[in-house]
């Protein structure tokens, strides 16, 4: 399986990674190996076998619709906001992020 530079670029974009050229080079080798390893599964006949989504066999894990106090309040959560342009990343109790549209 050959991973093209185009595919690496696409994956980097999807993952929001800014990659250097040599990183891309190394990654295509790594990914090729990983895919080759996983592809061993293709040798098995899975005809008629339902996909496995989880191994715990749990179902209907849900909770009642009740408001509960949280471990972390707004102040604690906003404290985790990263800075924006060397300034606090919070304004009017909101998270400040680079302009998006």
């Amino acid at each position: 399986m050959n991973i093209t530079r185009e595919e690496i670029n696409h994956l980097a974009e999807l993952s929001n990674f800014d990659l250097e050229s040599q990183e891309k080079e190394a990654l295509s080798g790594d990914l090729e190996n990983i895919i080759k390893y996983i592809s061993e599964l293709d040798s098995l006949d899975t005809e008629g076998v339902e996909p496995t989504y989880q191994v715990f066999e749990m179902e209907n894990i849900w909770r009642e619709d009740e408001i509960k106090a949280q471990d972390a309040d707004r102040a604690a959560l906003l404290k985790t906001a990263p800075e924006l342009h060397n300034k606090p990343g919070v304004e009017d109790y909101q998270l400040k992020v680079p302009k998006v549209l």
Binding site: H10, L14, N16, Y53, Q54, F56, M58, E59, N60, I61, W62, R63, E64, D65, E66, I67, K68, Q70, D71, A72, R74, L77, L78, T80, L84, E91, D92, Y93, Q94, L95, K96, V97, P98, K99, V100, L101
Partner: protein
Amino acid sequence: MKYEITIGIECHVQLKTKTKLFSEVDNDARDKEPNSCVSPVDYALPGMLPRLNKEAVKLAIRAGYALNSKINLYSRFDRKHYFYPDLPKGYQISQFYHPIIGEGYMELPNGTKVRIEHAHMEEDAGKLTHFGSYSLVDLNRAGTPLIEIVSMPDIHSAADARDYCKELWRAMTYAGVTYGDLYNGNMRFDVNISLAKPGAKELGRRAEIKNLNSFRSVERAVEYEYDRQSKILDEGGTVKQETRGWSDASGKTTSQRSKEEAQDYRYMPEPDLPPLRLTEDFVKEEQDKVPLLPRDYRKSFKGKLPEDTLEVLLDYQPLMDSLSKVKDVKRISNLYASVLLAEEKSYEMLNDLPSAKQLDDLAEMAEKQELSSTGMKEVFMKLFDPQMKNKATRDIAKELNVIQENDTGALEKIVDEVLSDPACAKAIADYKSGQEKVLGFLVGQVMKASKGKANPGTAGQILKEKLA
């Protein structure tokens, strides 16, 4: 029309649960400070696990019933990946492979059937406010439970697009699934529009108009897109497949982002949430809680009141509920449509409607002509008056002094008095000589003598007999 228009609509409905879909914080963020209804789960702190709200599942089941859909007993959640600041996790928990609500349909008032492809549960994203060089993120809305209703491309006019959205709104609010406050974004519509030459086998390329939040803007956006796309096609061009935004102020759609490269959401099963396996009994129990829906009222009131009156009243579930309990549906529906809804504050009055007994009494008094049509309206309005509303209809009518005199004996006496009044002698002579219009004057005299309590119809009848 030069081109055939084909429309499919996706509708997001916010469910009216107390808490969010996957966290135990307040789901009602109206009038609350930014980020005050946020848990570590909504904030996507590492290691936080979603916990499914059972009530959201129940409301989705009810929604499915209102959509004439079958409920898939087996369903589960998937991750839909994309990066945007209103989505801290980097993925939205949705249902892609196994949605809870299967195929169904909505029937529009004009009989058009719009098939529902499916509907699924998912979480809402946060709210962004854009400024010059930065944007602010409020996560109060992040994690609000939604169902997304996906229609088949069965809609072929702007009016049907509007009616479909309205019908969804009615169905969802009647079923008690959402507050349905459109202004606050409780329901939002994404409209896919494409044009093709009549008879063409393939649909044209489509544009998607995102985030419309009124029926009128859905209709206007479709009309605008028809013009825009047909102009492009007329000139031999091709319509770009893209996402467009609508501005109510300018009445135009504008390009937001090109969809030429297919979005790659990398859906994968959500490993943090085990699947749902519902029982028939559980589903039935929820669906039995759904009250009468617009489709039920259309069936039960068919032929009992004019269709246009019915369609006006169907916007107000409390009125339909009240109507379904009264005997004289036609008379009361007219009062609701032409008297109550004409009131400036009718919206507040809808919250506390008169009892069926009060309305039945009112209709009966009107039927027996104890109330004139003006008197009936007067008494009707008093049934909403905080000072009067708890009284019996007849007591209110007495208080207002509007009960008409139908007692023929008493009326005849009044008529005799009027006829013997010298002031009426000329009118009587005129009538006898064939001027029938004068009868109105004489009826007026009877009304005056009875202090307005005589039934003018009966009074006229007696006058005619006596003058014959």
